[in-house]
């Protein structure tokens, strides 16, 4: 006999309203259907009333966690259509803030995961570390999460040499603190018991179902949009983080190792940061044409399709967020696992529902 029970939209482990209709046979999940639409805001339609520059602030609000990267990608698109080349320093600064966003997003997620399997102390600890990154963001960009530093044509704030030194110092501390929780995440019985071998997504499945980001890399596919070298990534050496097993543990490890990678990238950026202007003047821009830009968010590949119609309002901005692509893989992970594991597996794709529904 099978039972259908709703998982979400309100669930203790979910910060956002993800709703899955789960079919159970005894304790085992046999099928899952996503039900979305709780936080759909229609942000894409706002293009018709917000002009080119105001849209930057709108797209930042698509996702609260990776706002900087949304704005970055949007600006890349508009600059691409207009054929503007932004100063090199601006590109570096954009990436510095993007990588800081990646750090705080991954730390937030690690905390939530720890919370999901009931390890309150680790949850608090991750968020305490995250607070350092938030402080950096607040002090340098002016806001904590939605930092509003991108604009079409460049960035709006600079980092002074003092601030750069301070960031480097914070990164060192951050690395030390991450080292302290590393044995917990990698060896702890509680963590392993709940994640190893749970929610397995094979390499072929992951690729075919269009998984992106840590979900894809956790299954052994070395794909990271940063490798295309958009923005300042072309000046940076890094290797995508890959794990082979495809279970929740592998995805956790990908994100944890990406934290170190992000620290390393920011260090490289600070070292190589060129001098120069912060932005170029974009006067009465009227873009015409289409463009597709991609970038790597903490959760995976983000795609923007922008179409301009020769006025200061864009014709269409289409946003494909990473979680949207990770929903079908999630549906493939669920069958066969126990109901009690569903929260951890659902969290392991790092769902961001307000992103998904825009």
């Amino acid at each position: 006999m099978s039972t259908i029970i709703p998982f979400g939209p309100q669930h203790p482990v979910l910060p956002e309203p993800l709703h899955l209709k789960i079919t159970l046979k005894d304790e085992i999940v046999t099928d899952a259907i996503p039900m979305l639409g709780y936080v759909h805001r229609g942000l894409e339609t706002l293009v018709s009333i917000k002009d080119l520059d105001q849209m930057v602030q709108v797209v930042e609000r698509v996702c609260g966690i990776c706002s900087c990267i949304h704005a970055h990608t949007y600006c890349m698109c508009v600059e691409g259509i207009l054929g503007i080349e932004i100063p090199k320093r601006a590109e570096f600064l954009r990436i510095i803030w993007s990588e800081l966003h990646r750090m705080h997003s991954h730390l937030l997620w690690l905390g939530l995961l720890a919370d999901a399997f009931g390890m309150e102390s680790l949850f608090m600890h991750c968020w305490r570390i995250r607070e350092r990154v938030m402080d950096v963001m607040e002090a340098t960009a002016g806001n904590r999460v939605i930092i509003s530093i991108n604009k079409v044509g460049g960035v709006r704030r600079d980092l002074s040499p003092d601030q750069l030194r301070w960031i480097a110092q914070v990164l060192d501390e951050l690395e030390r603190e991450l080292d302290a929780i590393k044995p917990v995440l990698t060896n702890d019985y509680t963590v392993k018991k709940r994640t190893v071998g749970v929610g397995v997504l094979t390499k072929e499945q992951a690729y075919e179902l269009g998984a992106v980001g840590p979900t894809l890399r956790g299954s052994g596919v070395a794909q990271d949009v940063r490798m295309t070298g958009y923005g300042a990534y072309k000046f940076i050496d890094f290797e995508p983080v890959v794990e082979k097993d495809g279970d929740s543990y592998a995805r956790t490890m990908v994100r944890f190792r990406e934290l170190y990678q992000a620290i390393d990238i920011v260090r490289q950026l600070i070292r190589k940061l060129p001098d120069g202007e912060l932005s170029v003047k974009v006067k009465a821009a009227k873009p015409e044409g289409e463009i597709v830009c991609r970038s790597e968010q903490p959760r995976g590949e983000l795609l923007y399709y922008v179409k301009g119609n020769g006025s200061k309002f864009l014709e269409r901005v289409r946003i494909r967020t990473p979680t949207f692509a990770n929903v079908p893989p999630l549906l493939a992970m669920l069958p066969g696992i126990e109901m009690a594991d569903v929260p951890v597996v659902a969290l392991s794709i790092d769902p961001c529902i307000s992103c998904t529904e825009r």
């Binding site: 520059d53 105001q54 602030q57 002016g142 509003s148 044995p183 917990v184």
Partner: protein, 122 residues
């Protein structure tokens, strides 16, 4: 097995990482976009800020010589500050205090800028 234990014990003997807000507050960082103000006597009421604001929270009325911002709709992005031609808008780092009632930040210009500034800006 006891990986977290070491951290927990260390935490017992170290200083608390939290503050007893509101008894104890942290100094705000400089340059934080905490609160938006207008130096109303210098404002030329041109309405640029109103036009540029992405959240439409500023209302400029030339007739009654008022400038009003809805602090609960403002997203503290600082766009208006950048676009003000006479730089009378500015942001301060202390954040707004929580309030029990929504009060608009409505400013009435009494005198207005000196003629010279006005001429120079236009």
């Amino acid at each position: 097995m006891f990986d977290m234990t070491r951290t927990i014990i260390a935490n017992f003997f170290s200083k608390a990482h939290t503050r007893l807000y509101p008894l104890q507050t942290r100094e705000p960082f400089p340059n934080v976009r905490g609160n938006l103000f207008n130096n109303i006597e210098e404002c030329i009421l041109c309405g640029m800020c109103q036009k540029r604001c992405p959240s439409q929270c500023i209302t400029v009325d030339k007739e009654s010589q008022t400038w009003q911002v809805d602090p609960y709709a403002c997203v503290y992005c600082g766009v208006c500050v950048e676009h003000c031609p006479v730089h009378c808008l500015f942001m301060e780092s202390p954040y707004r205090k929580p309030a029990a009632e929504k009060v608009m930040n409505r400013l009435v210009q009494v005198q207005g800028p000196a003629k010279k500034t006005k001429g120079a800006a236009q």
